[in-house]
Symmetry: C2
Subunit: 321 residues, 2 copies
Amino acid sequence: MQSFEQLLQAFNASFEKEHFPAQPASLYQPAQYFLSIGGKRVRPVSVLMGNELFDEIAPDSWQVATAIELFHNFTLIHDDIMDKAPLRRGMETVHSRYGEPTALLAGDVMLVVAYDYLNKVHSPHLQKLIRIFNDTAKAVCEGQQLDMDFEKQPTVSMADYLHMITLKTSVLLAASLQMGAVLGGASEGNQQHIYAFGKNLGIAFQVQDDYLDAFGDPQKFGKQVGGDILANKKTFLLIKALETASAADGARLQELLHTQPADKVAQVLAIYRRAGVDEWARTLKAEYDAKALQHLEAIAVVNRRKAPLQELAAFLLQREY
Amino acid sequence: MQSFEQLLQAFNASFEKEHFPAQPASLYQPAQYFLSIGGKRVRPVSVLMGNELFDEIAPDSWQVATAIELFHNFTLIHDDIMDKAPLRRGMETVHSRYGEPTALLAGDVMLVVAYDYLNKVHSPHLQKLIRIFNDTAKAVCEGQQLDMDFEKQPTVSMADYLHMITLKTSVLLAASLQMGAVLGGASEGNQQHIYAFGKNLGIAFQVQDDYLDAFGDPQKFGKQVGGDILANKKTFLLIKALETASAADGARLQELLHTQPADKVAQVLAIYRRAGVDEWARTLKAEYDAKALQHLEAIAVVNRRKAPLQELAAFLLQREY
């Protein structure tokens, strides 16, 4: 059994190569540029971990892991166009560096190359793997569309927000683990458990992300605290606060969503605290974390094989052991 | 053996359904809207014809034909964004009707659904079919990028232009026929011949398209004659004229590319005629047409099975028999 760190190093070594033909460089160089920006590579490593939970890592898993990482990067390139984001990880986005038409095409071709890697699999489960991949890809597109829709709506219900965030961010982690499990020869029941582990872990991570953006230690969090508040972004916290704040605080919060006073972040945080949204978010994260671990627990393999996935959950959710 | 018209009717009947889930409608309704605009459906029918050249049409062919048509529509949605085109076939493009972010995503999800159809195939040749599909998809993206690159360059060589147009418009027709042939159990050699038939036919069609835009009968052609000239679009004709016109005409042509006099179309056409570009284009089209038919001839099946493909070539190239 290998740890997340060990598998990450191995994946990075295998991923660090040219994934595209040399010509036309005007198309493929922008695609390769974006991959060079780097990333946490949590999803491809999850493929390997999903496989190793059940059996030795099959050669096919490296192809699937690469396909998953290319798919993820395709979505980021296109999301950046849609969000008109100038930077990602402090580097220029593809469209700000090469223009929107090229960024659009570089994303398209990256998705096709993802399918190329998937199609290299020798597993008799190829069609099932493609089906999981396609279902996930559609879900991610749906999540992105719902996210854009919600930003235009005055209010969004918690159920709708949770559905959106699940599609946009959790199903890809879940599917990565499941695809690894398929290659590891897992039963359908065990596949469903590892999928549910990934889905709940993804949601817990997103709750934490929203929480840290508002209440995190700026030094540890590594980015500006209150960014979501300044951008009036719909988050778990904002939606909950709009549901539960007192009448006066609710009205004040609505007003703050349409103005940018100098102390906006402090004012919104005070409302969040009075509504108990900070405590609520910590509890919600713990609930999804617990659900994830229950599903991991339910998987019918010996406990020591599960250690790397327990560590992954701890790493992502910054729990103390 | 069925004619193009018969297969077109059958394909249209099978294609006329919802290809997407109902929700979220904000994503899938724009995708379905674009399909409702219609099209010539030459590529999916070519899948069926490529199959029937060798054997009875396999059920798998309908899935592949649908995948090809969805792929083609995905490229059109994204091309329209890149070209900032307001209309297609007289109807609003997806991005002018629903905004660029939604058009981008609707294209993305349409490509994924194309892979869904491809993945429904029961053929033992699934991986080969996906490989042909992927190689073609990459080529089409490359062609679109080169097309955008060339529009920014002052001059383009005929060889480069031919390479671009082959990628952008011919390989999809060629691959459609080949994928049908794979499903019809064709040998590798026969697959290569039908691929070459489609590729040369596609180039001949593109030469004709450029020719008709300049020299066509506006009534028969169905669109404004001289549109390419007014848009300074690089075409077979313009590139050849820049290569072969007299020094004086070449200089005048360069000047016309940077101005829009009222009689621009007439002036450019006069230069084209003096350079003999009209006659040259008719000959070039005939050469590619002949090459296409030689490859069709070389396919090792009885002649009467080839009649529908001969008719398709005649239909696309408006030859008289």
